[in-house]
């Protein structure tokens, strides 16, 4: 009986560990260059979504932005719709969280 319970507990631990590993493995960093078609700042000003049209695939990708610097650039229009952006985001649980969000243009 004791042995049976040990095996069950071990299996449970293994299952939980595997699920955790799968979850962390599903977080993926993606790099892209795209043009902003829409920026929406949340009412509380603490986050925003930007839709980027991938310059390679033409697909539209929604990026969630939470860093203060980029949010400020949205607010004072240093970054606006139509700007081309070099972006790195983490893809996890169906959400694309921005890690780098920079205009490609410069002088």
């Amino acid at each position: 009986m004791k042995r049976f319970f040990s095996v069950v507990i071990m299996l449970a631990v293994l299952t939980v560990s595997s699920l955790t590993l799968v979850a962390s493995a599903s977080a993926e960093d993606v790099k892209m260059v795209g043009t902003i078609s829409e920026i929406k700042i949340a009412d509380d000003g603490k986050s925003a979504t930007a839709i980027l049209k991938d310059t390679k695939s033409g697909e539209s990708v929604t990026i969630v932005v939470t860093d203060d610097l980029t949010l400020d650039k949205f607010k004072d229009k240093r970054i606006v719709e139509g700007d081309e952006i070099r972006c790195k985001f983490e893809k996890q649980d169906g959400k694309n969280s921005s890690k780098i969000f920079k205009k490609t243009a410069g002088c």
Binding site: V33, T35, T55, K56, L69, D72, K73, D76, K77, R78, V80, E84, R86, I100, K102, K103, T104, A105, G106, C107
Partner: protein, 456 residues
């Protein structure tokens, strides 16, 4: 004049009262009542300030330079007229203009002087009352500047004008420049965000930013003149220099006397700025087509904190040859310290006839990718008649002077005094015997062991 003085006196009283209640820029009521009309409004309280600004590097993009080889002491140099391979153009050959249509028939405005704080009609180095009124004071001084209002447009007369946000909202939110006011221009130099020098002034990247400090806390401005550090590639200056040593840090800044002994020969940046980023190589002879249909010079770049510096002796004078711009100095000159630099290498066209680096007007290659058309256009603008363009590389040492790492990420004894340490003592001029002494753990073993034991 009398009226202006009366208004100024009145606003001065208002300022004192306002300061006693809140830290707010005075003149709010005046602006609310009269609106904002550019520098004309600013000089009501700050007489002479517009004229004063026209004499600064921010307006002239140039100054006399006396610390760089092979320059004419009587001339002014800077972004206005320099040619080097991070930019390969300047305000003259790349004056703000409309690019010819690309294959898709699209055009756009581009130019090195896009960041000049005027309206382009009054351009780099212009003078007189019209220039004074063209200054975009708010782009540096307003916390609520709407940057979408600053853009190049072509007037009916065909002249390109840079518009400004002169709204009352922007004018009511003035004060000392915030970091973002500076970074609007200073982070986009060299062809994109954080490309040229590759440092970030965010809380995450820089200890001073983490403390809430802004650029002008260190670059303490006097009469719109900015003290700068001594980046070998930053030539123009307002006649004032700055170092870490001053109000905030002494020349014996560490609790540890061993570290303090280093300050005579090691610049603060060497240990405290262990990484930068941005472009490390660029090829102006090969432009890449972008999704927009325009072309850009091909560039190899890294994120901030990904580039390891090189270290060299620097006596604050600069070697300037067609293929090299970088620090001069040696271990024995009694003036040099070891500084960190970001090494950049740029490929562009040199004139086979005299060996000098040629400049490039970006408009033609931006539209079609034809780089030699850009060289031809620039040569025409500069009046160069005899030239034979051949590709070649130029190496530039950029000073690593920003993005100060947190204390726990600064270099310590073992980072340098090791066989595989970050300093190449042999190249820095030390003999084999000295290198042996400088790379033994005897120098720091007991000290680091004690720290390790305390932390375990």
């Amino acid at each position: 004049m009398l009226f202006s003085r009366c208004v100024a006196a009145f606003l001065g009283v208002v300022l004192m009262v306002a300061n006693s209640h809140a830290k707010e820029h005075s003149g709010k009521e005046y602006i609310q009542k009269n609106g904002y009309q550019g520098p004309k409004t600013c000089v009501v309280c700050h007489p002479g300030v517009a004229k004063e600004f026209l004499e600064t590097v921010h307006w002239k993009h140039a100054s006399k330079v006396d610390h760089v080889d092979h320059l004419d002491a009587g001339k002014e140099y800077g972004m206005k007229n320099r040619i080097y391979t991070m930019c390969n153009g300047n305000d003259i050959v790349n004056n703000l203009k409309e690019v010819p249509p690309n294959a898709a028939g699209k055009t756009k405005f581009t130019g090195c002087n896009t960041c000049h704080p005027g309206d382009h009609v009054s351009d780099v180095g212009s003078r007189g009352p019209e220039a004074e009124q063209a200054i975009d004071c708010l782009i540096c001084h307003s916390a609520k500047y709407d940057f979408s209002k600053r853009k190049a447009v072509k007037g009916k007369d065909g002249k390109v004008v840079m518009t400004q946000d002169r709204s009352v909202t922007a004018a009511l939110n003035i004060g000392q420049p915030k970091t973002k006011n500076c970074m609007v221009c200073h982070e986009s130099a060299g062809g994109g965000a954080l490309i040229k020098r590759g440092f970030s002034m965010t809380r995450e990247a820089d200890v001073h930013a983490a403390k809430g400090m802004v650029c002008v806390d260190c670059h303490t401005v006097k009469k719109h003149r900015f003290p700068t550090g001594r980046d070998p590639n930053n030539w123009a200056h307002d006649g004032m220099y700055m170092t870490c040593v001053g109000e905030c840090h002494s020349n014996k800044p560490h609790k540890d006397a061993d570290y303090n002994r280093h300050t005579n020969v090691i610049a603060c940046q060497t240990c405290h700025i262990p990484r930068t980023g941005g472009a490390f190589a660029k090829n102006f002879t090969k432009w890449e087509r972008q999704s927009s249909g325009f072309y850009e010079p091909s560039t190899l770049k890294r994120e901030v904190n990904e580039t390891v510096p090189v270290y060299a002796w620097y006596n604050l004078t600069v070697s300037n040859t067609p293929h090299f711009i970088g620090p001069k100095g040696s271990r024995s000159d009694g003036k040099s310290k070891i500084y960190p630099f970001k090494v950049f290498q740029g490929k562009a066209y040199f004139n086979k006839l005299d060996g000098q680096l040629l400049s490039m007007d970006f408009a033609p290659p931006m539209a079609t990718g034809d780089t030699l058309a850009g060289v031809t256009s620039a040569a025409k603008t500069l009046g160069i008649k005899a030239y034979d363009p051949v590709p070649g590389w130029q190496t530039i040492y950029f000073g690593s002077n920003h993005q100060v790492a947190p204390k726990n990420k600064a270099l310590t004894c073992a980072n340098c005094h090791a066989i595989n340490g970050v300093l190449n003592f042999k190249e820095l001029g030390y003999s084999a015997k000295e290198v042996e002494k400088l790379t033994t753990p005897d120098l720091y073993f007991d000290k680091l062991l004690k720290i390790q034991q305390e932390n375990e």
